[in-house]
């Protein structure tokens, strides 16, 4: 073998060895950045420590504004939609031996796991005909979860694309959204959502505990419009943020009464009379 031929052969072998050392497999996994991480953190902080300074009169105004906003948005079906997607994401995480609790520390003696989990949930549609679900007609929700250093990141995000669902769901539907004791509405959602897990991902939709921020288009019974809102869902209880004209945000919880939390204390307001104390 001549010297140049020998050098060429050595180079070829060097390439083979280098390729082998590199593993001949896919490269390093790049985790996507959580969108709007800073804004989400700021909103979560408001829910933890509301910024509006309230008195009785302002609390009454907040209660009134909250009622008006709830009636205006008419999105009491929305939490269950998100919770349902989270339950599916949880199942996929567990199937792959990945954590479903963002508070759980990484296993001390186990390898470091980084992962991107993407769940695509076809929406149930408005008429739910027999046969496989029609993604083109019904739309879908795609949710992304990240596991970094063996821990589930609290922030998940997703996109709802022309998602159609009934509220309440039709009997036998794969996705049951909200109570089923009143006539069904045709709901529609299209936009981006940020989800912040406040607890382990739910095994059933009703057990979800999370914060959601949504921007996009929603529609109920044919009336669609662009909206942006955020709320916390705590296993059936919904908290949402109401800006106060004098400054800051109050956090409102709707139940048998309207509970309002401000920076300087909490108030409870009657649903019918809006009297607060």
């Amino acid at each position: 073998m001549t010297a140049p031929a020998c050098v060429g052969a050595m180079r070829r072998w060097a390439l083979v060895v280098a390729a082998t050392a590199a593993g001949c497999g896919p490269g390093t996994l790049t985790l996507p950045e959580s969108p709007k991480a800073e804004e989400t953190a700021a909103l979560i902080a408001v829910y933890d420590m509301p910024t509006a300074v309230l008195d009785i009169d302002r609390a009454r105004q907040v209660a009134s504004d909250a009622q008006a906003r709830l009636a205006d948005l008419n999105v009491d079906w929305f939490p269950a939609l998100v919770s349902d997607a989270l339950a599916r994401a949880r199942r996929r995480l567990l199937d792959s031996g990945l954590p479903d609790d963002p508070a759980a520390p990484a296993e001390e003696s186990h390898p470091l796991v980084r992962a991107v989990v993407e769940v695509r949930r076809i929406c149930p549609g408005w008429d739910d005909p027999a046969g496989p679900p029609d993604a083109t007609m019904n739309g879908d929700v795609e949710l992304t979860a990240i596991v970094d250093a063996g821990r589930l990141e609290r922030e998940l995000w997703g996109v709802a694309s022309g998602c159609r669902l009934l509220h309440p769901a039709a009997a036998g539907s794969a996705v049951v959204v909200g109570p089923t004791d009143h006539p069904a509405l045709k709901a529609f959602v299209d936009g981006t959502l940020i989800v912040y897990a406040l607890a382990p991902l739910p095994d059933v939709p009703a057990a979800g505990q999370f914060f959601v921020s949504f921007e996009g288009t929603i529609g109920v019974s044919g009336a669609t419009r662009s909206v942006g809102f955020d709320f916390e869902y705590l296993a059936g209880t919904v908290k949402f943020r109401v800006p106060v004209p004098s400054g800051g945000d109050a956090i409102v919880t709707v139940g048998p009464t309207i509970a309002i939390q401000g920076a300087n204390g909490g108030f409870s307001c009657d649903l019918a009379t809006l009297t607060c104390q």
């Binding site: 996994l29 599916r88 199942r91 003696s109 996705v175």
Partner: protein, 292 residues
Amino acid sequence: MRKWGKAAIFLVLAATSGGRAFAQGGGAEAIREPGSSTQSKSPSAEAVPRIDERTALMVGARRLKLGVLFFEYGVTEHLSVGTQPVGWAVRAFAPVLAPNLNVKFQFVDRDPVWLSAMVAGYYGNISNGKVSGEVLIAPISLFASVRPVRRLYLHAEGTYVFARAFGDGDLSQAQVGGTLVARAVQTQLMAEVRVLQWLSLIALGRGQPYTSPIRASGTSQIDPYTTASVDAELAPKIEHPWVIAGGVALLFPHVRLTVGAGYGTYFVPGMDVPLQQRGFVPDGSLAVLFTP
């Protein structure tokens, strides 16, 4: 819990089978008496047993070795095939099966220098019914053994551990006893002092200067409405594990026994994957040789 149970069983089996840190006192090939003339062309015909695991030495022609770590058969003086029983036995305790095979070839046999290469392959199915995946591990080793003075052997090893995951599966099964199956380069140097014909003192150091994470990805359908995909990367927590150890090897003609201890990271025998914690490393092994 079921997943970690499998891993724990794997670990227990690996631990009870003994680390390969001391060459496991495995089979030995007979050699000339120390100090005798060189050019050992037919060592199995001679009398002094030598360590043949993790060294460049061979089990010997037409010899069958049954050990807790390795089963091995010498096809010729310079070629042997074997398997690791732990990978098969674990099936009795958990739905994990790691079929494996290794081939060792000695290409230099000129006392006091021996060189050999070994290729092994381990396959693991990490599917769990809902997701599917496989892991392939293939350690490729080069061994060099020298005898610079009459009672001293030096055994050097360089190993590249190729690992590849296919699909995603249950990622917690892509590890053994809490350790990760990953691509890695490992080196080992073992010094063996032959005190008696049947007794050696052993000291060794093993390290892993290069480690690369592995990727696993796949898509599954959860229900008719839901599909989900996972793209994951697993990286060892200890990037450069090492171990130093000492022990004794009892090398009788038909029975091999080693015991020892050390400090560092336990390397699971055969697959050459290190555990993810550092500390006391016990060791021990037993093998029986059958000669026609």
